[in-house]
């Protein structure tokens, strides 16, 4: 029989003999690996989702009137075109009546929007003329997938063809998007817009903001990045808190493994003494115990991963309203953390046990 096979056999029998203790130690490790997975999965998943949301915006600056109840004159916006702006699109907000109630309408220039709002998910196609609209995904449920919808305002009514449905996961899903000229006509706001969404290079954001505010005194420029930054700061705080909790739980798990190993090594003093008497070196005997601990750590890591994923999804859903994607590499991280806890918790008890005097133990003292 190969020595490695005998080692595996010995390990298996030793583990089976102390299954209760090993399950207890593995449970402590599982708690720690679960939290470790959450620690890495939640911030990574939320960051990824934030990135997706920013991408869905397609814009990183928004120009709005200083006075929230007023509008921006479309002709003033010509100045923006001259700056270092990658893309932009206007929006005009208002309300109209749908057959089944009031609906928020948004006037946009579809050719601009198509270019700028890269993250918009369209089921169908983009409108190609002013008689066509995009309906938000939530509107689809109201109109029941009809090809045409009737909008009415101030005693007038007009039918529009639904070219496609828009899905962003945000408030846009409840809006109807129509050509900005049509919206200006419906709302009687000719030549007016509510907001302009711009995309500029990160390094140009400040210059572009200042230039717009200088040339258009009646507007203010908001950086969407600021929102993202605020969320990042929030996220970092959560991450710090979770890191702290995880650290405490890791320490707890190490102490738990350590006390289990301490009990185990005390119980097995005669085995250790016998192995020493038979010529086992400290390294070889220590390997038996460390291997047992590593197996416990792997078991804890394997159990901790799905629990960590589950907890991460629960946290993400309850705190951020959406599920997150969890990277498969966290499975290996979970196992590595489990092994680390097991080894860290075993070193002191095993080292102590290996110092015992075989003559005294074998005499039964």
């Amino acid at each position: 029989m190969k020595k490695s096979r005998w080692f595996a056999l010995f390990l298996k029998k030793a583990v089976m003999e102390r299954m209760g203790r090993i399950v207890f130690a593995a449970a402590a490790i599982t708690v720690a690996t679960t939290l470790s997975v959450v620690l890495f999965a939640v911030p990574a998943g939320i960051s990824e989702r934030l990135g997706e949301e920013l991408k869905a915006y397609g814009a990183n600056l928004v120009v709005v009137p200083l006075n929230e109840s007023s509008y921006i004159n479309e002709n003033e916006l010509l100045n923006i075109h001259k700056g270092p702006v990658d893309s932009f699109f206007y929006q005009l907000y208002g309300q109209a009546n749908l057959d089944k109630g009031v609906v928020e309408i948004v006037g946009v220039d579809f050719s601009q929007a198509k270019q700028a709002a890269m993250g918009w998910k369209i089921h169908g196609r983009w409108p190609v003329h002013s008689e066509e609209i995009l309906a938000g995904a939530a509107i689809k449920e109201i109109i029941g997938g009809m090809e045409k919808v009737g909008l009415s305002w101030e005693g007038r009514k007009k039918e529009f063809k639904v070219a496609g449905f828009l899905e962003t996961g945000g408030r846009e899903d409840k809006n109807i998007f129509l050509d900005i000229k049509e919206a200006q006509g419906i709302l009687n706001l000719h030549g007016k817009v509510s907001a302009v969404f711009l995309r500029a290079k990160r390094e140009n954001l400040e210059t572009v903001s200042k230039e717009i505010e200088r040339s258009m005194p009646s507007v203010k420029v908001k950086t969407l990045q600021e929102v993202a930054r605020a969320e990042e700061i929030f996220l970092k705080r959560i991450q710090f808190l979770m890191a702290f909790v995880t650290f405490v739980v890791l320490c707890g798990a190490i102490v738990s493994v350590s006390s289990t190993m301490m009990t185990t090594t005390i119980e097995r003093r005669r085995e250790i003494a016998l192995m020493k008497a038979l010529g086992g070196t400290r390294l070889i005997i220590g390997l038996f115990f460390i291997a047992e601990a590593v197996l416990t750590g792997i078991a804890g890591g394997i159990a901790g991963f799905p629990l960590g994923v589950l907890l991460s999804q629960m946290i993400a859903k309850s705190s951020f309203g959406s599920f997150i994607s969890v990277s498969a590499y966290l499975f290996f991280l979970s196992i590595a953390v489990g092994m680390m806890i097991a080894i860290a918790g075993s070193i002191i008890p095993v080292k102590g046990a290996l110092r015992l005097d075989p003559a005294i133990v074998l005499r039964g003292e």
Partner: protein
């Protein structure tokens, strides 16, 4: 040159002196019995010769190697190459079978040869007990497993500490017969500690210790 050379060996446990300057020489292939009453220091002497314990003073040389000079791990390696132990209490790994317990000694020594372990156990009359756990064996059977484990690596020196201490007369004779046969065939040196004059009769030479000193050293006729 003597196979075992002990000179001026002392051992203190705190304020208690267990050995008070022991001088002893044992030739290769001898069967020496160390006799003495309880607490005389005979087991201490055996543990010091076996390297299971460290002397306070004096020297122990086995096969030309000064074992006091060896580090703990070097001593472990030396032990597994040269010695086999039989204890009074049957010390086993409780969750391993009889054959696996014998193979544990092989594991530390060189290779795990299941066939060889089975052969030795069968020679000792345990062919039908190979896969039994120690707790499923009688006292005599357990002691024979201990003997199998002690001789499996063909040691030069067999150290036995009260190997029949827990056995009835029938099993004592069986164990001693086994040792006698192995000694004849194996050409190894036996150092056996006992307080039982009946056991001592089986040895070629009897060294009597009292109060940490050798008081008699005589050949059995």
């Amino acid at each position: 040159m003597s196979f075992i050379l002990v000179g001026g060996l002392t051992k203190h446990y705190g304020t208690t002196t267990a050995l008070k300057g022991i001088d002893l020489e044992v030739q290769e292939g001898e069967w020496v019995c160390i006799m003495g009453p309880s607490g005389s220091g005979k087991s201490t002497l055996l543990n010091l010769i076996g390297g299971l314990d460290r002397a306070t003073g004096g020297r122990v040389a086995i096969d030309g190697v000064e074992i006091n000079a060896l580090s703990e791990d070097s001593l472990s390696r030396f032990r597994r190459e040269i010695m086999g132990f039989i204890f009074q209490q049957s010390h086993f790994i409780p969750y391993l079978s009889a054959a696996e317990n014998v193979m544990l000694a092989q594991y530390f020594h060189s290779i795990c040869d299941e066939e060889e372990a089975r052969e030795v156990l069968t020679q000792l009359g345990l062919g039908d007990r190979l896969h039994h756990r120690p707790s499923q064996l009688s006292g005599g059977e357990q002691q024979r497993v201990c003997i199998a484990r002690a001789i499996i690596n063909n040691p030069k020196l067999l150290l036995a500490d009260e190997p029949t201490g827990n056995l009835d007369r029938e099993n004592t004779i069986l164990t001693l017969e086994t040792l006698k046969e192995l000694h004849k065939a194996g050409q190894f040196t036996i150092l056996l500690v006992t307080h039982d004059p009946f056991v001592a009769k089986w040895a070629q030479r009897v060294v009597t210790i009292e109060d940490g000193r050798i008081v008699r050293d005589e050949l059995n006729t």
